[in-house]
């Protein structure tokens, strides 16, 4: 279904009576079932958020009362850092590999577990256990990594499966000790109705993304290896951040201004992101790279998409190498 058709079919309010609303309610239920199947949760545990990052507050603050300490790590997202300021919190430091040790937790602790780091692709292998609550940040892992059995709340972002932006999926486990941290009068979890057309578009996207991922995972892994090998062998004074998820690579280059590098690469047809201070709106270097001890200057972050080809990557790497040589001279 093309997007304009979705907007035509999904404009009525699914909570109202009437034929149009009934068919909209059917669309919503179908979408809910689709997400439940791909994300490994029950359909009645799913909530849609028009503001995806609101899910950090819902998922974390909803598990915490006065007796709980909040455990997070120094490579968690800034949204999690902000929440650590309003709760009694303890920050864990990652090892150089990006792994977090969740030993020594107390039964009353509430932890945040980032399944995959969105800057570097680092995948956490340890799982916090025997604690009061566990929030899962699945905003970079999407459907790639299964929820641990003892999850309490979880958050996904529709853009991870190439769905529309402005669409988060937030789940509260039936067994979780969770209270809505937002002002509320009824049992609704999300404050506003999320856009039904975006929900339907995202459900279509996750279906096709999961099907493609099965066929393309091996290609993406091979491209990841090609990029890492090329940078290590051909670009001196480079520093690759530890990775994990095959579609993400973060690489830094000594004596290079990242803002100039990103601008030149964009001019040459390659849009890439950066974690360097000079390309950040707050002029601060990436806290993830700093926590890992990886160089923060001259940093670029690459995402390998389903449509990315080997030829495209080969051309890009040559241009990357040339551009770095130019900027260093």
């Amino acid at each position: 279904m093309a997007l304009p058709h979705i907007f035509e079919a999904a404009w009525p309010d699914p909570s109202k009576l009437g034929a149009d609303s009934k068919s909209a309610a059917l669309l919503l239920n179908e979408a809910r079932e689709t997400f439940a199947g791909h994300l490994g949760v029950r359909s009645d545990e799913i909530n849609f958020l028009g503001e995806p990052n609101l899910g950090f507050h819902l998922g974390i603050s909803g598990l915490i009362s006065e007796q709980n300490q909040f455990i997070f790590s120094n490579i968690d997202r800034m949204e999690v850092f902000a929440l650590s300021e309003i709760h009694r919190s303890k920050m864990l430091s990652v090892e150089g590999t990006g792994q977090i040790s969740f030993s020594d937790l107390e039964r009353t602790d509430v932890a945040c577990l980032q399944l995959c780091n969105r800057e570097t692709g680092i995948i956490q292998s340890s799982r916090p256990a025997n604690i009061s609550g566990l929030f899962i940040d699945a905003t970079a892992s999407g459907t790639r990594i299964a929820l641990p059995e003892n999850w309490s709340t979880a958050l996904w972002d529709s853009t991870t499966w190439a769905g529309p932006s402005g669409m988060g999926i937030f789940a509260v486990s039936k067994g979780a000790n969770w209270k809505n941290p937002l002002p509320h009068l009824d049992g609704r979890i999300n404050p506003g109705p999320a856009s039904l057309p975006l929900i339907v578009a995202s459900a279509l996207a996750i279906d096709s993304w999961v099907a493609d991922e099965k066929n393309l995972a091996a290609k993406i892994a091979a491209i990841n290896t090609d990029i890492r090998n090329y940078i290590t062998a051909n670009i001196p004074d480079s520093d690759l951040a530890p990775g994990g998820a095959d579609h993400l690579i973060s690489a830094s280059f000594l004596y290079v201004n990242a803002e100039q590098l990103v601008t030149k690469l964009a001019d040459r047809g390659y849009p890439v992101d950066s974690g360097s201070a000079c390309s950040a709106s707050n002029m601060q270097p990436s806290h993830v790279l700093a926590a890992l001890g990886v160089l923060t200057q001259g940093n670029i972050r690459l995402t390998i998409h389903h449509v990315t080809t080997f030829e495209e990557v080969k051309d890009f790497l040559e241009i990357l190498s040339q551009t770095i040589t130019e900027l260093r001279s």
Binding site: D237, D239, S252, L254, Y255, V256, N257, S276, A277, C278, M283, Q284, P285, L289, A290, G293, V294, L295, T296, Q297, G298
Partner: protein, 69 residues
């Protein structure tokens, strides 16, 4: 020697440091002054990548020893 890079933004302090060290002997010491927020993490990464040594002193002050050419 003292290398004053106060007010200079990343990657300039580390580029200037590398330039200064180019023709200096092993064991040469530099005190780098830098208030750029990237300098603290990047000097550690630079020292690891280039086999040199760095230590953080008072705010915005870093002690560097050349250990490799």
């Amino acid at each position: 020697m003292i290398l004053d890079c106060l007010g200079k933004r990343c990657p300039l302090p580390i580029i200037e440091l590398a330039k200064v060290l180019t023709d200096k002997p092993i064991g040469f010491k530099v005190t780098l002054l830098s208030d750029d927020p990237a300098s603290a993490p990047d000097l550690i990464a630079w020292a690891r990548m280039t086999s040199n040594s760095t230590e953080t002193g008072e705010p915005d002050t870093f002690y560097i020893v050349k250990l490799a050419n």
